[in-house]
C-alpha cells in the first residue's frame, strides 16, 4: 500500500474509529541490522578506534565492521535525512544508525569501502561552508552535545538550544575531531530546569535558567488554572491565594521565596516567567554517568549566570573553553572532569579554570548540609586569602 495523497488519507472523520490500528509499538529492530551485524550479534570480541570518528569492531567469527561516526544535528530536515540515505545506499547497503547522542553512524564491512565512505563524508559541505558530516566524537575527545528543543518548539525555555550548541561546537570543533583529552568529555544542554534532556550528570551541563518570578495574569488565572494545584506546585510555598481589586480569584507570589524553577508555569499558563534580562545560562560541571573508577555523579553549578547573548553566546563559549582547557592541561589520564575536580579540590578547580566563586554556588536549598566542608583539609587559594583578609589579622 503506497502512502496516501488524499487530504485526510485513510482517516474518515465521519467514522473516526473505523480501521483504527493501535498498540502496534515500534517496528522490530532485527530487520534494520546490516548483514555483518546480524551475523555477529553477540559475538563481538573487541574494538579499536582507528582514528577519530572511525571504529572497527572484531568478531569471534573473524568478521569486522568498520563504523564511521559523524556529528549530526538533533534538528534535521527530511532533506538531510535523504542525504544520509543517499550515503547509506551508496556505501553501506542501505543501512545507517543514530547514536544516543545524535551522532550518525555509517557501517561497512571492508577497509576499501571504508576509505570511499570517509572521503565522501568529508567532502560534503553546506553551501554556506559548514560540514554536513564531520567525523569524530570518539575516544578521549568531545562528542556531540545532546540538547533540548529551545525556541524551536518549547513553551518554557529560558534560552535557545540549537543556537548555543552550534556556537559551542564550532568553538570546540578541534576537540570533537581529536582525542587529546585525558578522558571523554560529555557536554549536554537543557533549556530550562525541567531538563527534558536530563543534563544533570554531564561533564559539562549548559542550562537555561530564569531569574524573575512569574508575572500573574490575574485576568484569566482563575478561568484557566486550578488555583489549589498551582499553590501546591510551588516547592517553596511562595504562592498563596489572593483576590484582585475587582474581586477575581487569583494568586500572589512571595518573590523572595521564588527559586525560579518554573513549575508553577508548567501547571498554569497564567504565570509566565520568561524575560529578556532575567533569562540566561547556568553552567554545571563534573558529572558523569559511567561507573568507571568512581561512581556516577551529579554535575555541580560552577557558573551561576551568563546572559543570553544570541546567537553565539560568547560568554558561555568562553567559560566552557576555560574549563576544558584547564582540564586538558591538568588532569591525569583516564580522569573525568569531576574526578579531576575532586582530586585537586573544588577550590583549585575554580582557580585553574579562572572562574569566580560567588555565594550563588554555595547550596542553600534543602540538602545543603551535604556540601558543607566540615574539615580543616583545604588548599590555600586567592579566594581563601580574601576571606582571611576580610576577617582580619592577615595582611
Amino acid at each position: 500500500m503506497a502512502l496516501s495523497t488524499e487530504r485526510l488519507g485513510l482517516f474518515n472523520p465521519d467514522k473516526p474509529m473505523e480501521n483504527r490500528l493501535t498498540d502496534l509499538g515500534p517496528r522490530h529492530y532485527w530487520q534494520y541490522f546490516p548483514p555483518v551485524i546480524q551475523n555477529n550479534y553477540g559475538k563481538w570480541t573487541h574494538h579499536e578506534i582507528l582514528e577519530p570518528g572511525v571504529l572497527v569492531h572484531v568478531s569471534e567469527t573473524g568478521d569486522k565492521v568498520f563504523t564511521v561516526r559523524c556529528g549530526g544535528c538533533r534538528f534535521m530536515t527530511v532533506e538531510h535525512v535523504r542525504e544520509i540515505c543517499d550515503i547509506a545506499d551508496k556505501h553501506c547497503d542501505g543501512y545507517v544508525r543514530f547514536t544516543t547522542r545524535n551522532n550518525i553512524e555509517f557501517m561497512t564491512d571492508s577497509q576499501d569501502k571504508l576509505d570511499a565512505l570517509k572521503k565522501d563524508l568529508q567532502s560534503r559541505k553546506h553551501v554556506s561552508g559548514s560540514y554536513k558530516f564531520p567525523l569524530g566524537g570518539t575516544g578521549a575527545g568531545l562528542t556531540n552535545i545532546v540538547h533540548t528543543q529551545g525556541y524551536i518548539h518549547c513553551h518554557t525555555p529560558a534560552t535557545d538550544a540549537s543556537a548555543m550548541v552550534k556556537a559551542v561546537l564550532d568553538d570546540l570543533f578541534e576537540y570533537f575531531q581529536g582525542m587529546t583529552f585525558p578522558a571523554q568529555v560529555r557536554i549536554s544542554m537543557a533549556c530550562c530546569l525541567n531538563m527534558c534532556g536530563a543534563v544533570h550528570c554531564s561533564d559539562i551541563a549548559l542550562l537555561g535558567y530564569h531569574r524573575k518570578p512569574p508575572i500573574v495574569d490575574s485576568q484569566v488565572l482563575d478561568n484557566v488554572c486550578e488555583i489549589p494545584l498551582v499553590i501546591a506546585a510551588c516547592p517553596t510555598g511562595a504562592i498563596s491565594p489572593a483576590k484582585t481589586e475587582d474581586g477575581k480569584k487569583t494568586v500572589k507570589i512571595k518573590n523572595e521565596r521564588c527559586m525560579f524553577c518554573g513549575n508553577c508555569y508548567t501547571m498554569c499558563m497564567a504565570l509566565p516567567l520568561s524575560d529578556k534580562e532575567g533569562d540566561g545560562v547556568t553552567i554545571l560541571a563534573g558529572g558523569k554517568i559511567s561507573n568507571r573508577i568512581s561512581p556516577p555523579k551529579f554535575s555541580k553549578v560552577v557558573v551561576p549566570f551568563l546572559p543570553n547573548n544570541f546567537p553565539r553566546f560568547p560568554e558561555v563559549c568562553s567559560d566552557v573553553k576555560k574549563i576544558v582547557e584547564a582540564y586538558a592541561a591538568d588532569a591525569n589520564k583516564y580522569e573525568r572532569i569531576g574526578d579531576w575536580a575532586e582530586r585537586i579540590g573544588w577550590e583549585k578547580f575554580f582557580e585553574k579554570c579562572g572562574l569566580d566563586f560567588t555565594e550563588h554556588l554555595i547550596d542553600d536549598y534543602r540538602l545543603q548540609y551535604d556540601t558543607y566542608r566540615t574539615s580543616t583539609q583545604f588548599k590555600y587559594t586567592e579566594a581563601s586569602w580574601a576571606v582571611s583578609k576580610a576577617a582580619g589579622g592577615v595582611e
Binding site: 500500500m1 541490522f33 527530511v78 543556537a163 556516577p296 583516564y334
Partner: protein, 472 residues
C-alpha cells in the same frame, strides 16, 4: 536466537510507497540554494551558518527552498513552514523569549500521549506555524534503520508535516516537528496502516523505552538490550499510550556499567547489564598491552603522547577496590572484591572481558531536578537472570507500578515517592530483604521508625500501671 517480531512485518519498499518523484526530490540547484533568501529577515540565524559544525540553519534553508519550489498541492502544510519557523526563531532571539503558547490538548483518538500540542503566539506574522504540533514516533531499538524506512518517513512527513524533525528526541523517539491538527489522524493512520509503526509516549504514562547498542555491536553487553527493550515496549503498549500514572515513567536499558544510554541518571527503572562470575583474562593479550603491541583503551587516547603504557599506573593503581596485582608477568584479579566498574576492561578490551554468567542489575528512581532535586537510581536488585519473555522482570515492574499508582501524588516521580516513604517501604513493596549494597553507608542518625510489631509487648501501655511504679 529467537528474534521474532510480535506481529509479522512487511518489508517496506520505498519505491512502492513513495509520494515524490525523483524530479520533485531534486527540484533545486546549488546556485539557486546559494542565492535563496527566506521570506523573513534572519541575521542571527544567517550568522549560525558560519563555522565548521553542521549548521541547522543551512539545512533548514535547503528544505525551505525545496518546499518553495514544490507545487503547493504537493504538501498538506504550507510551503513557508520552514521559513516561518526560522522567522519566529529570530524574533525569539530579538525578544529573548519563546513565542510558543503554553500547552494545547491535541492527540489521536484513544491515545493520551504521542502528540504534543503547540501553537504560535504570533499567528498573523507566521501563519504556517500557527499550529506546530509534535508527534513522537517510537524508534526501533538502538536506532538502526534502512533507507527504505527513512525515505518513506521523509515523504510522509514532507507531505503531511513541516519536513522538520529530530533524529532523535531526548527519550529516543523520532520527532516529527510541526503539523496542523487536521493532519494528526491522517499521519497516525499512514504510520499504522502503511508503515506498521506506532507513536511513542508522552504525558503521565510509560515513555518510549530506549536501549544502548548492546550485542549488535558491542563486546560488553551483558544481556540483549534490544530484545528486552522491544519486548517490554510491546508488552506495555497500553501503559505507553493511555496515561494512568501519577507522572512519567521511563525504562532504559544499558548493557553494562559503562551506561551509554545513561539509564542510571534518567530512568525511573534502570536496567544495567552485569555479571557474577570472573572477569575473563587473556594473559597473552595482557603481555601484548604491556609490551606496547596493542594500544590501551582501544586507541581512545591516541591524539596525545601519554608515554608508554604502564599497567601498574594505568590499571592496577586506578582500580577502585585494589583487587588486581601482577604476579611476575601474570595479571591476577581477586574477583570477589571486584565491583565491576569496567575500568580495566575498558583499558585492555582484548585482554579482559566481562564474565560469561551475565544478567541485569535493577536500579530505581532517577529523574531530573524538577522538583525536589535530581536523583540517580538506587541499586535495589543486584543481579537477576532473565530470559524472554522476561516474566520475572515484569513481576517487579508491576509491583512498582501498583504501589506508585496507589500512593504517588500527582506529578510525583517514583524516586520522589521512594524518598517520601523510605527505602524500607519500597523493599516491602518489592518483597525483598534489605542489603548493605543499597546504601553508601548506614544511617548516622538513630531515628529509626520502629514498627509496633517489632517491639516486644506492643505500644499499648497503661498509665496507671506506669504510675504504680513512678510518682508524678
Amino acid at each position: 536466537m529467537a528474534f521474532e517480531p510480535r506481529e509479522e512485518q512487511t518489508k517496506l519498499k520505498y519505491q512502492e510507497l513513495r509520494i515524490y518523484s525523483d524530479e520533485e526530490l531534486n527540484n533545486y540547484t546549488e546556485d539557486e540554494l546559494k542565492s535563496f533568501k527566506v521570506k523573513h529577515n534572519i541575521p542571527d540565524l544567517d550568522e549560525l551558518e558560519k563555522g565548521p559544525w553542521p549548521s541547522f540553519v543551512a539545512d533548514s534553508k535547503r528544505e525551505a527552498l525545496r518546499r518553495h519550489k514544490l507545487p503547493e498541492d504537493r504538501m498538506m502544510i504550507k510551503p513557508e513552514v520552514v521559513e516561518d519557523m526560522l522567522g519566529q526563531l529570530q524574533l525569539s532571539f530579538d525578544h529573548g523569549e519563546t513565542h510558543w503558547k503554553h500547552g494545547g490538548i491535541v492527540g489521536v483518538f484513544g491515545y493520551g500521549g504521542g502528540v504534543i500540542g503547540r501553537y504560535s503566539d504570533m499567528q498573523d506574522t507566521f501563519p504556517s506555524i500557527a499550529h506546530f504540533h509534535t508527534m513522537r514516533v517510537n524508534q526501533p531499538a538502538s536506532k538502526f534503520y534502512d533507507t527504505d524506512y527513512l525515505r518513506t518517513i521523509c515523504d510522509l512527513w514532507e507531505y503531511r508535516g513541516s519536513g522538520m524533525m529530530n533524529m532523535h528526541g531526548s527519550t529516543g523517539d523520532i520527532i516529527f516537528l510541526g503539523t496542523f491538527t487536521e493532519q494528526l489522524e491522517p499521519i497516525f493512520f499512514e504510520l499504522g496502516h502503511v508503515l506498521q509503526q506506532d507513536l511513542g509516549g508522552s504525558g503521565s504514562n510509560l515513555r518510549t523505552p530506549s536501549c544502548c547498542i548492546g550485542k549488535a555491536r558491542c563486546e560488553w553487553s551483558c544481556y540483549d538490550t534490544q530484545e528486552m527493550c522491544y519486548e517490554l515496549t510491546h508488552f506495555y503498549q497500553d501503559e505507553l499510550h493511555r496515561p494512568a500514572f501519577p507522572y512519567k515513567f521511563k525504562f532504559k536499558f544499558d548493557g553494562c556499567p559503562n551506561g551509554c544510554v545513561a539509564s542510571i541518571a534518567r530512568s525511573d527503572m534502570s536496567f544495567i547489564g552485569n555479571w557474577r562470575d570472573d572477569i575473563r583474562i587473556d594473559q597473552a593479550a595482557v603481555k601484548a598491552y604491556m609490551g606496547g603491541e596493542i594500544a590501551p583503551n582501544g586507541g581512545a587516547h591516541a591524539g596525545r603522547d601519554w608515554g608508554k603504557f604502564d599497567i601498574q599506573k594505568e590499571v592496577i593503581d586506578l582500580c577502585p577496590t585494589s583487587c588486581m596485582w601482577m604476579e611476575g608477568d601474570t595479571l591476577k584479579i581477586d574477583d570477589k572484591e571486584c565491583t565491576r566498574c569496567m575500568h580495566c576492561i575498558n583499558v585492555m578490551p582484548q585482554a579482559l572481558r566481562p564474565g560469561k554468567d551475565t544478567g541485569v542489575s535493577l536500579l530505581f528512581g532517577a529523574k531530573a531536578p524538577i522538583l525536589e532535586g535530581a536523583q540517580m537510581s538506587v541499586l535495589t536488585i543486584p543481579f537477576m537472570k532473565t530470559e524472554p519473555p522476561y516474566d520475572n522482570v515484569k513481576e517487579v515492574v508491576e509491583k512498582v507500578w501498583d504501589w506508585w499508582m496507589e500512593e504517588g501524588k500527582n506529578r510525583e516521580r517514583l524516586g520522589e515517592l521512594i524518598q517520601r516513604y523510605g527505602i524500607p517501604k519500597f523493599l516491602e513493596v518489592l518483597e525483598i530483604p534489605p542489603m548493605p549494597q543499597m546504601v553508601t553507608a548506614p544511617r548516622a542518625n538513630p531515628y529509626i521508625f520502629w514498627k509496633e510489631e517489632d517491639v516486644e509487648g506492643g505500644w499499648d501501655r497503661s498509665i496507671d500501671d506506669y504510675r504504680s511504679r513512678h510518682a508524678r
